[in-house]
């Protein structure tokens, strides 16, 4: 259900990465050619710029930037906290059998009323599930990161309790609770 959680601080640096364990029929993990952590740092910075660019492209004022990135193999949801911290949630694709070309779809209004039509063709309520999971993650972030005296704001997150909470959320998401 959930593949990965990435947290990008407001300067565009990757501060947290959690890869949810995947199990598939046959016992092998869904191993993708995994980039190393340095690559992820670069990707996070690139995403940060693209997010800002998308907001610039928007024909409507006050665009909140990229919200959903959809591909044949995964869907990427981007949730932004009021502080500018971005939570990227990589999940299963909306529809696994779509054409291989990636489609970037995004909301142009802040309210996000214009939902791309492709969102309705996938598994039911993927958007709702991802949003619910993100809410839980954000609560855990507020509890275990913001209140941790050893965490420095905008710096990489090394909080064991947050790790544990995110793992629990991943398990619950894969068991279909959300």
């Amino acid at each position: 259900m959930l593949y990965q959680l990435l947290i990008i601080n407001k300067a565009g640096g990757l501060v947290y990465q959690h890869i949810f364990p995947q199990t598939r029929a046959g016992g092998t993990s869904a191993a993708s050619p995994s980039p190393n952590s340095n690559d992820f740092l670069m990707l996070a910075g690139t995403f940060h710029s693209i997010h800002a660019l998308v907001a610039q492209f928007s024909p409507v004022a006050d665009s909140s930037g990229l919200r959903v990135l959809e591909s044949s193999h995964f869907t990427l949801f981007c949730f932004q906290a009021p502080t500018g911290t971005k939570f990227l949630l990589v999940t299963i694709p909306l529809s696994g059998l779509q054409s291989a070309s990636s489609v970037i779809s995004h909301h142009v209004t802040q309210t996000g009323r214009t939902v791309p039509t492709s969102l309705h063709s996938g598994p039911p309520n993927l958007h709702a599930v991802a949003t619910a999971a993100w809410r839980e993650i954000y609560l855990a972030y507020g509890a275990f990161v913001a209140r941790d005296p050893f965490h420095v704001p905008e710096m990489p997150i090394r909080c064991s309790r947050f790790d544990a909470a995110v793992s629990r959320i991943g398990q619950r998401a894969s068991s279909g609770i959300y």
Partner: protein
């Protein structure tokens, strides 16, 4: 004795009269303003303005109708946490987080940090004794007063069943005793103060329960049971932040207990440990 009359005078003249008078003047002043603009003399009230006025006076009335918050000094200390109001866990967590941050940034090793947390807790503990006995007496309907604890077991049970519920809303775990060394262990399965704290790997011996150890030490000191208290990690698989507070009473406490058992009288201990 000479200071008593002065204290009495100031206490009787200050809180109730001046506070109430101020509050009444404030509310009646509002009312005068509201009705004053309603009088026909200076008016040209359009319908909208009149409606606004009515809304404003209604708001004033509503504010007046609300039960006025008592001066905290006038509230009963007997009332339990349900009536007295509770502090939110988030507020406590943020405050304690800042305390730990301060203790950490002041430098020094883990022992130094724990020592600082201990001192903060100590100042809480010595103030908690009177309140704990009053609150503990107020529990239950018939409110039998708690008497002064004279034995080690009694005072530890007060900590377990009165002090910690008063501070954190939960009882402390079981009390254990190492008879060979006369150590007592208070077990805290999940200390409230460290619920949101992830101690980094490079200082994993740090236990923020040192703050609670300080509270216990201050409490015991003020209750005439001087002891040295320390917090130790005692994690298990299910309870990663389980903490044990080790209590070592001074020899004078043990001596007094023995004397009491053999029919002697209780006496305060003027402890040399002026921490």
């Amino acid at each position: 004795m000479s200071s008593l009359p002065g204290f009495h005078l100031s206490s009787s003249s200050l809180p109730p009269t001046s506070q109430n008078a101020g509050a009444q003047a404030g509310s009646s002043g509002d009312a005068v303003v509201a009705t004053g603009t309603m009088t026909p003399g200076q008016q040209q009230p359009t319908a909208a303005a009149a409606a606004q006025m009515r809304a404003a006076t209604a708001a004033v009335a509503a504010a007046a109708a609300q039960p006025t918050r008592k001066n905290p000094a006038q509230r009963s200390v007997r009332k339990g946490p349900n009536i007295y109001g509770r502090v939110s866990l988030a507020a406590l967590a943020f405050l304690f987080s800042e305390i730990v941050k301060m203790a950490n940034e002041a430098g020094g090793g883990i022992e130094k940090i724990e020592q600082r947390l201990f001192e903060v807790g100590y100042s809480v503990g010595i103030r908690a004794v009177e309140l704990a006995y009053i609150r503990g007496s107020g529990l239950g309907e018939q409110s039998t007063p708690l008497l002064r604890s004279t034995t080690i077991v009694e005072i530890l049970q007060i900590i377990q069943t009165v002090l910690f519920p008063m501070l954190y809303g939960t009882r402390l775990g079981p009390i254990e005793r190492d008879t060979s060394r006369n150590h007592y262990y208070l077990i805290d399965d999940d200390p409230v103060v460290s619920q949101f704290i992830s101690v980094p790997a490079d200082m994993k011996d740090l236990n923020c329960g040192a703050y609670n150890a300080g509270i216990i030490a201050g409490f015991l000191e003020r209750a005439q049971f001087p002891a040295s208290v320390s917090a130790h990690n005692h994690a298990s698989k299910d309870l990663p932040s389980r903490t044990v507070y080790m209590v070592m009473f001074e020899q004078s406490v043990h001596d007094r207990c023995k004397r009491l058992e053999s029919g002697g009288s209780w006496s305060p201990i003027n402890s040399p440990t002026g921490q």
